[in-house]
Every structure is written in C-alpha cells, then in structure tokens.
C-alpha cells in the first residue's frame, strides 16, 4: 500500500527517476512529435486537406444560389427521385444543399477535373458522407463551406447523411456521377 498513502519521501520531487521511465517517456515524446508534425507535413505534401474557406449565409441566400446553379446547368431529371441532374463545366463552382431529407441536386462531374463544391444546410445539421469513397464533412446551417474536390474515379457515388437529422434521416441520400473523359 502506497499509491494511496502520502509519498515515502517528503521531498518526493527530488527522488531520481528510473531509467526505464525516462527511456519510455523519451520514446513516447518522439512518437508524439512525429504525429504532430505529420499534420503540417500532409498540408504540404498530401492531397487530402480540408479547405477552410467558408462564409456565413442563411437559408434564403444559399437556397437561391443553388436554384440559380441548377437553372443554369440542368441537363435532365432523375426518374427515380424527380431530382434535377446538373452538369456543370469542369473547374466551376458547384453547389449541393442538405435539407430534410435530401441532398440536392444530383451532380454530374468529370473524372480528373477539379471543382469548387459549396455545401450548406437549409435547416438542421447534416452529415455529408460520400460513399463508397468515404469522405465525411459536417454540414452546418448558416455556414457555406467551399472545398475543392477532384474525383479520381469514375462511377456512381452516393451521399449519405451521417448526422442525425430527424425521423427521415435514414432516407437522406444524394448522388454524384463521375464520368470518364
């Protein structure tokens, strides 16, 4: 019994530390520093870094911007859902919004091209979860987030909502199609 008794040495902070603890603390510290510097390293050399570009917005403003985007580039209507399919030019600003309970609109993108994706919510918080790629972003009402995406695979991708947003949460899906060019 001692861990729950006062230390044996009155001046316990002067008792020398054992070799084993010093070595372990040293190894652990080095590892912690490596992990720390990995993050700035990835900002420089990695390709997956979240942009910090964001603007304050509101439901009317953002909703209007998305509608204007849809009107300009709509190329069809999805039969299953009745949602507009939008084919924006490569490199442009593209929009998606989350609302109860859909990701709107459906996007047609080209592989290897980069886009500026705007995301926001018109009502509650939602979770943008791109599957099966597995990129996950928090979508917060009042904030418009802008990220650069460059799809490097062709195919059909699904946006799942992974932040709880009420009873229809599990029905909240969206689509991004990426075609080979």
């Amino acid at each position: 019994m001692s861990s729950f008794q006062p230390p044996a040495d009155r001046i316990w902070w002067q008792v020398p530390v054992g070799k084993q603890e010093i070595i372990w603390a040293g190894i652990a510290l080095v590892w912690c520093l490596i992990m720390f510097f990995m993050m700035p390293y990835w900002h420089v050399y990695g390709k997956q870094n979240l942009s910090t570009e964001a603007y304050q917005t509101n439901a009317e403003k953002y909703g209007a911007a998305v509608e204007a985007f849809v009107e300009e580039y709509q190329t069809g209507v999805d039969e299953q859902s009745g949602m507009p399919i939008v084919t924006p030019p490569a490199g442009s600003d593209i929009y998606m919004l989350g609302r109860l309970w859909q990701w709107y609109p459906i996007l047609n993108l080209e592989k290897g091209k980069s886009y500026r994706l705007h995301l926001s919510s018109l009502d509650w918080q939602h979770g943008f979860s791109l599957q099966p790629v597995n990129i996950n972003l928090q979508v917060v009402p009042g904030y418009e987030m802008v990220i650069n995406v460059a799809p490097d695979q062709a195919g059909e991708f699904t946006v799942i909502c992974n932040e709880f947003c009420g009873i229809g949460h599990h029905t909240m899906l969206g689509k991004i199609h990426v075609k080979e060019n």
Binding site: S2, S3, F4, Q5, P6, P7, A8, D9, R10, W12, V15, K19, Q20, E21, W24, A25, W31, C32, M35, F36, M38, M39, W42, K47, Q48, N49, L50, T52, D78, M83, W124, Q125, G127, S129, L130, Q131, P132, V133, N134, I135, N136, V140, P141, G142, Y143, E144, N148, V149, A150, D152, T158, N162, E163, F164, I167, H169, H170, T171, M172, K175
Partner: protein
Amino acid sequence: MAQFRVCPDSGFYFDRSAESLMKVNAVAGVVSLLIAGILALGVILTRWQDVHLLPADLFYQVLTAHGINALIFWVIFFEIAVLYFASSTLLRSRLAAPGWAWAGFALMVIGAVMNNVAVMQGNSSVMMTSYVPMQAAPHFYLGLILFAVGALIGCFVFLGTLVLAKDDKTYDGSLPLVVFGALTATIIAIFTIASGAIILVPTFLWSVGYINHIDAEMYRIIWWALGHSSQQINVAAHVSIWYLITGILFGARPMSEKVSRFAFLLYIFFLQLASAHHILVDPGVSSEWKIFNTSYAMYLAVLASMIHGLTVPGAMEVAQRSKGYTKGLFEWLRKAPWGNPVFSGFFFALVIFGFIGGITGVVMGTEQINLIIHNTIYVPAHFHATVAVGTTLTFMALTYLLIPVLFRRALFMPWMAKLQPYVFSLGMTIMILFLLGAGTLGVSRRHWDMDFTGAMLSFDYPGTAYMMVAVGGIGGVLGVVGGAMFLIVTVGSLLFGKKLEPSAGLFQGFCGLPLADSVYNVEQPPRLERAEPVEHHHDGFEAPGTFVLALALLVCFVVYYAINWDYLSSVWPIG
C-alpha cells in the same frame, strides 16, 4: 461523538456522512447503468440489420437515452462517490459540508429524472449532443443543467474536504497519488461544467423562447469544450482507480511519484484543448487552430496517457517481483489473481482502453484522417473502448472491492462476479472491433437503417459491411449479458448478500491492519502515515515485462497510424 468506523478487512476509515453519500451516489450510478444497459440492447438489436428491432422514432429516442444515462448519469454519479472516497476515506477526514453534498445529490437525481422524463415523452430525441437548431423540450436542458450544478457542488465538497484534511492534519506529507489524480479529475470537471453552463443555459433559454437564435457552429465548439473534457475527467478518474487497485491488491507503489504526478499535471494543462477533435471537418475552422488543438498542443496529453500506461502495470510488476514472481518476463502477470474480478476487471480495462481506445482515438483525432472517419460508426466503437470498457469496467472492478468494504456485504454469486469481466470484455471487444471495421467501410453512426428504406434514391453497402455490423451485434449482446451479470451481482449483494461479520471478508487484512468492529466507534482515526521508505535502485530495468508490453503498444500504434494515412491517401483529392 464518534463518527468514523474502521473497516476490519481493509483498514479504511469511513466518515459516517461520507459513507452514506458514497452509497447513495454509487447506487444512483448503478441504476443509471441498468437503464442504459437495457436501452443498449434496443440500440444494438436495431443496428444489427437482420434483427432491426425498433421502429425509427423509438430507436432515436432509445439511443438518446442510452447515451445520456450511460455516459453522463452512470459515470458522473459514480465519480462523485469516488471523489468522496478519495477525499474522506483515503485521507481519513471528515467530509466537508455534508448538507451541501446531500443538496448536490438531490439536484443530480432531480436533473437525471427530469431529463429522462423529457426523453421518454418523445419530443426530445436530439441525441446526447443536442445539436442546435434541432430543439428538445425545455426540461431536457433544464435536467442536464440541474444535474451539472449538483455535480459541481460535489466537486466543491471534495475540495473542501481536502482543505479540512489539511487543517486537521489527518495525513503526513503530500497528498497520496490516488487523491492527487482525483484532484486532477475535479479541476477538469470544474472547467467542464463551466463550459456546459455557458452553452446549455442559453440553449435552455432558447427552448423556452427568450433567445431566438443560437449559432449552430458556436454551439458545436462550446458544447465540445464540455463534451470532450468531460471524457478527460473519466480518464483521470479511472487512472487514479488503477493506481488504487494495484495498491490494494499488490501493495504496489508508484514507480516514481514525480513521473506519475507530472503525467496528471499534463492532463490538467492540455486536455482542455481537445475539443477540436469533434470539429475537424466543420466549416471555416482554421487548420492551425485545429492542429494545435486536436493534438493537445503536441500530443502532450497523449504522452501523459502513455506514461501512465507504463507506470500503472509497471508498479504492479515491481510489487509482484518483490514477492518472488521473478521468472521470465511475465511470471508476475501469469501469477496475478485472474479469478478476482477486481484484478481482471482492472486489467482488461487497462488493456482495452490503451490498445483499442487510445490508438483509435489518436488516429481519428488526426486532422486529415478525420475526413475518413467523422460520424461513421467507427466513432461510437472508439468511445465504447474508452468509456464503456475503460471507465465502466474500472468502476465495476472498484464496485466489487467496495461491496464488502463500504456496504459490508459478501458478494452475491461470486462465481458470476468472477466471470463477469471476461464476458463483458469479450463481448465489448468483439462489438468494438467489428464496428470499427464497419465504420471504415463508411457505415454511419446514429442511423436507423442500412437499407435506406423509403429513400427516393438507393445505395447498397457492401456485404462485408452488413456482416461486420451483425458480428458487432452479437458482441454487443454478449456485452449486455456481461453488464447484466454485473448488475445481478451488485444488486444481489446489496439485497441478499450475506452481512459480513466484523472480522470476515474478501480482502481480509490486505493492508496488514488490526481488525476492529464495524460500528462507528472511532472518534478520530490515527494520522495517515507516509509510505514505508524503500531503497531506490535505478541501475536496471525494474519492470522489463511492462516495458515489452509498452513496446508492443507502440508497434501497434505506429502500424495502425501508418495504415490510416495510407487509406486516406487513396481517397479523392480534396483541398
């Protein structure tokens, strides 16, 4: 008037009012765990897609109540009991302001009941995090606020008792390490509750209509100052209990007082930062801030946990070796009392917390890696390793110790107690590992239906994802069985356990102290003396087995960390 009794088996001195308060707080905690455990069954059997037990609305309601009862009510009620134990019992002091302590307890009970009623009424299924602008009933928030105020009073009673003990000179020298750890937890708790008040009070006012807007992002940032640091209370509390348990079972002493206390100090200095873990993929938060914050400056709190990871088992190894278990690297561990649930519970909690909870936590808290993990079911899998096993199983182990000591009852069905840590750990480990896997495949958390029934569009998860969740479900059910075993033993012991004679018990004389009657006949316990001095020999490695285990942890850590960067590098470039 004599107000202490001495436990004849352990030699602990119990102040009369502290004793009653510990009992009621522990019992309230166990009742919360019972509720949370029943609800857990609903949660896991719904997530398991082949069973899909509950309808959607009920699932979200049950999940909200599961999270709150488990992580807030069970853990904090029990922690208040631990604080009173650490201050009054370990320091042999009167409890400061017992009237206040009772008032705090009453507030906590009222708050917990009020919050549960709100969730049960059905219009407060907002999840534990209650993110705005989704709104719960006003008494949902009010319940949480009252509970927090009650807990805050408990923290001040703890601090007051430390002052009393110092004034009464009930101990010689510095605070024991375990009490120091509890003090760490308390300091963090006070910060946490303050953040909670800053965010929950306006949210309550908003729910009754006095405030018309709460910024959703601001809510997230401040809420997580509460949500994350409250997890550090748990870490500080269960690490302290690890030191206590190794001290009681093995007579272990800290390998170095300085190192262990320094590690606790690192918690105080750096844990508060970590709220960024939860907002790594939120809009508009700067990268510099995220990196600094998510890594607790430079992973200095992780460093602290890695240090405890060596010094806790290391202390045990040194003690065991001095008793002659010196063969090879691991005789000290093989010859440990594996049939004693106090030991097995503690040890599994330590291993699962460190190897699974710790590693996954650091990995997913890495700024960029969070992109492939945020809000997937990986996240609940991670924190079931930290709180549902690390903290909860530690508290269970301590409960086995306290039943004879505090409640003076023999364990009911000791064979079940003996098996319980094995069943619980096995079940939870299976659930955790497979849900980690499912999360890696993109399965989301807080989600009723992997089939997306009723959606206008469709998506099919890979078959492996279903398989992983199903196996996780089986593990979860086994975990619930393990939880039920704990409750049967505890409740059974309190109701039917044999009342202990003053001189009998599980841990008879483990402190080598004289036996006495368990009646309040001690006016003032003798002063708590400093530990026996030992020779410090620092020529070699005192705990080589532990060092090897620590290196094994490091290897797993490095490999898993690298795998996740590799996975990240394979997803779409974004910037």
